[in-house]
């Protein structure tokens, strides 16, 4: 699960003749593009949670399906978290540019399936959609898709959830479970606190059960408002829940990738 691990799936650990040989031997060469974000995740989780998720998900999917993965992008579209020390945000336009350049490079080498793995739930999707639409026009022979833990794991989130319906999003039950399962030394259990946002009519972020709602800009909070930064309840988290969720996400993604062959 580390960049240094011997798993031969990471592009940055392979020589160019090794990549050439994969491209020539595979009928449908496939590559993953893991994208995270460096942003606050409450007082109990490190800033890199989304990058850890993207990296781990990409590596496990690549190993399970025998495909390659590009190096992780630790930076994403996180303007709404800039009020918290340490958050680093790329503008939506910058994320689009980065992904467009990556997609162009990979499609020109002959990769046929180029699949983005988004660790920054929902928030990076705007940029990913634009970059995929653009690449789709430039490279009609390549196929683009994006995997998001929340969108490919709706059933898993529903089934495993002990907390509120918003709890799939940011620093709550599920992301804390992932970190407990994979990077426990970076989790501060002493800081576990339940944070709930009061919801106005038609303004729910509940993407799991999908009720009538309007679309709004990202909310911007700061520590000055007394906000701790995360949403939901980390005390509902456990390493087991993290493992179970992850197994299902990887299985769903592998199932999808198999359907492309």
């Amino acid at each position: 699960m580390s960049d240094d691990a011997p798993a031969p799936v990471w592009l940055h650990e392979l020589t160019w003749p090794a990549v050439e040989s994969y491209l020539e031997s595979e009928p449908t060469p496939t590559v993953l593009v893991p994208v995270g974000s460096t942003e606050q995740h409450g007082p109990h989780l490190p800033l890199g949670v989304d990058g850890f998720q993207a990296r781990s998900l990409a590596e496990e999917i690549a190993v399970a399906t025998d495909v390659l993965t590009a190096p992780p992008l630790w930076y994403g579209d996180a303007d709404h978290h800039l009020g918290f020390p340490g958050t680093i945000s790329l503008s939506t336009d910058t994320v689009v540019s980065v992904l467009s350049d990556i997609y162009d490079s990979l499609a020109n080498h002959g990769f046929v399936n180029i699949i983005t793995v988004n660790g920054h739930r929902i928030a990076n999707l705007t940029a990913i959609r634009i970059a995929m639409d653009r690449a789709n026009r430039t490279h009609p022979d390549a196929s683009f898709a994006a995997i998001d833990p929340l969108r490919i794991g709706i059933d898993a989130h529903r089934r495993l959830r002990d907390g509120d319906s918003e709890d799939g999003m940011h620093g709550g039950e599920f992301e804390t479970s992932f970190m407990l399962a994979n990077h426990p030394e970076l989790v501060r259990e002493a800081e576990f606190t339940r944070e709930v946002t009061e919801t106005e009519p038609y303004q729910s972020d509940d993407l799991v059960s999908l009720t009538d709602s309007v679309i709004r800009p990202h909310g911007r909070r700061t520590p000055e408002d007394g906000s701790l930064g995360h949403v939901g309840d980390p005390t509902n988290a456990s390493a087991e829940k993290g493992d179970e969720l992850w197994a299902e996400l990887v299985a769903n993604a592998a199932d999808f990738i198999d359907s492309l062959r």
Copy 2:
């Protein structure tokens, strides 16, 4: 329901002193921004369906809630329909620029709630989100939101639907019902045909019931592929269904706007 109608809600039918007077007398001045698209909607509906929906929805909401509305934008993000004669598409970047300029103008005049009304279901949302996020940063004292028939009428679509789950989207049961109710002279009933798309695993567009899925670029079809252009079954449409759906959309939107006061 026409641009020429005497209803005093359209900005382009008011003088500047009339707008000034509204801004000065209203505690929370509110304005709608209707956005459509000029794109193919199958052989039975005219290219302007999305603009007709945006214009009609904005006018009815404005009348119901006593707010103003900017003139309709007939053009949207429709690259995936360019294979069909007559479709006119603005790039995502262009739609973002247009909306950003409109939002800036309105916020600078002192409008406090600026609410986009999207007639081009889902497809314009990428651009709208970026423009709202940007305006939200520039104008922290204004409040932005977007109303989409599918997102604010999930329950209504579920309840009224006779066809497939994809049928809320493009030229099917619901858009045809709207046109029968409001512009019957522009509907060609003789051309009503059921069009169904076979769905690959994890690739459903079913936004109403929300199953596990990956995010993909917009599909691009053309008449050369034998495609008629729409999705779903117009024979399930009726003027009554159109009226009923519309009444619920307007009521939900009015409910939301009231919650902002």
Copy 3:
């Protein structure tokens, strides 16, 4: 004169097979692109005057010459009017992007003559020129042109004018005459006031008789300066003058379009 009228010239009222049939049967398929602006026009005229003119001119020319017209763009380059409540301005760059995208879509469908109809006298021309030059390079087989009431009606303005030489421009004798002839219910005759701008040497805006002058940026006025917003004398306006001017503009435009066949 309404978007809802049964005239079969508006693209947004036609199905894609109807547009395909026009493109296949016409030797030189021609389409108009009406562009207006939502901006103050003094206390006696509504903000949409330029859009009403563009829409009306496009519809009448299309009917007279049997060509199609794209839906009206109600927004234009109006930064210099932003001091007045209700004005909505797109930047010059945004107008260029919108027109470029529209021209590209239409040229790719096979339209051979793409003719912009500008209701926002002179002020949109900068953006229109850039977009036409760009499209001209991308689509060498298509032909682009722009019709402006002032440039195609110089003789008519000279002959019909009772007021000053600046009076062809903004909210004065001629635009008020158009509104009296076509949308009298939106005109406030009680507010008719003569507004004259003192002109410095070499700084006349008299585009009808063309005297020696320097080019300056658009002047920016506001109600705070005591400005009413329009230029010229609405008391010289009449519905008859509006009808006569319009007939000549439509005849000249039709004459020009016939010369392209």
Copy 4:
């Protein structure tokens, strides 16, 4: 008339303390910005005609009115001449960027009147207008204007003209007269040839008498079409006519600049 001449008006021949002293001693510090183009001017004139005109006009106006001038920009918006060897064109966007950066630098130093001198008749005006509008918003305390030989010398062109009405534009009677008066060693009299463009209805470029016309993109010709590149009749040119025209242009410009004090 050379960059090396001792006239103390050129910014690039002055030290920064000399400029500082001008800015501190002048009540309304004024600077000119000469802009030309490197483009074909027929077989009888060199590619730099527009730059020579801009440089000469700026220098003479600066000397006559005791103001400063920025160094000449030899490059302009000349895409329509790229078919001819040696033409170098900046895109409209690039010219806008160059002028915007120059205007910003000068306005920030405290110049109050910033006056562009355009040697590339009409063709650079689109870019100049956009850059002036932009600078006008950023620097409300500075005043911007542009001088074009054709627009500030309409009467002079009418009075002195022996050829056709189009002859004020490009490489004809007037530009050849300027070159005979100022750079006779660069003129090839043996190549003087009358070139006339047949004009379609409503498509005249006659900016001097201004008849009804539509606006079109710049025409693009090439030597392959048998075109020589210029418009009009150089045999009507003379050094005297060049001197007389120039004297009037400089006088008009000086008159305008005096009106700003």
Copy 5:
């Protein structure tokens, strides 16, 4: 030396309150920004060499000087290597955007010294310079600098070198030594081959001894030309040389950072 290591210097391994506490307790808060590239490095080294160098250098400097470091950027400006399978290149503009956004985020949080650590010798410097110049204008109170192994280790390269003068650049003696010292399992010693580029007059890339030369665009090679991709002689490499070079680079960088306090 891994992202997962317990060293408390990586931003993505810290919570936001931990970063806040560093910012509040440090007189001159300092942060590193490691930038690499995913590009071919010959048949004996993996694509990620530049990212490994940037990550390792940043971590060691941060530990040595008690400062923080942002997560590694694995992607850089590598267009000239795109001919080789697996290379992923961001355009110069994209790298500028990414760095600008990162610098803005960090400067706004109150970091006073923001120091880029470039693993992609020389090639990223163009983008880094532009981004630093831009940030320098926006954040006059922050201080920006960039560390490049070649520029901060000129003496070290000269002293340790056994091969040619070009050998400091790409996949040769020095980069191979780094990889042998730090990631030996990713080095393919069986593929060690000497690659030498014939140099034309004035076209040397010898940045270590600096002879008279012109500046040229990046050369673009491909496997089709028989190129192996790297420059120099990996057989001169050793883990000891890698350790020695690295120790000196870290010492020099620490020396520089101490001078800022």
Copy 6:
């Protein structure tokens, strides 16, 4: 050495048929692009020093090697000098756009070697590199290079220098020598003052002897800080030194150009 001189090397002094004839008769048509800057050079030198150097260098090289040269660009990337009255700066992006457009025009005409001559030592190189890389991709059959007095005259600077190692850069010994040799009437000897910058560790700008250093943004000084603007010691300057340096630069450049034939 003037733009008006009869030397037939300047594009703006040639007709298009003359350029066509050069392109058709030369096996490897070559053109120079001189780029300067309008920026403060201390109290003893005029703002145009870099433009004078670029123009003079281009003219002498063109005459020596029988190639053509584009007109001089007097403006460059000089943001760091904007604190001094009279400095005019183009942004890096603007310089890239100008050069890209010039390179495109020239390459499309068939010039095979396009060589930029930079009078603004080092500072314009960032923009020149980006523009050359871009042009190199678009025009693979053309060859691009840039000549900088400091980079092509490292030996000459070392040999002739009497002052400090920083003295090759800006307004010191060498630039003053050039001006004494070529434009003595624009030099103010009474203002000759030695200006030395104290250098922090690793922050030397000594590009001639190249010591270990970090890369920093351009320093921004102003007269308010008591700075005179230049670096180095003009009292070490002489016309003879200027002539000797210039002869060697021209000889080196001619040598390089001959190597391309």
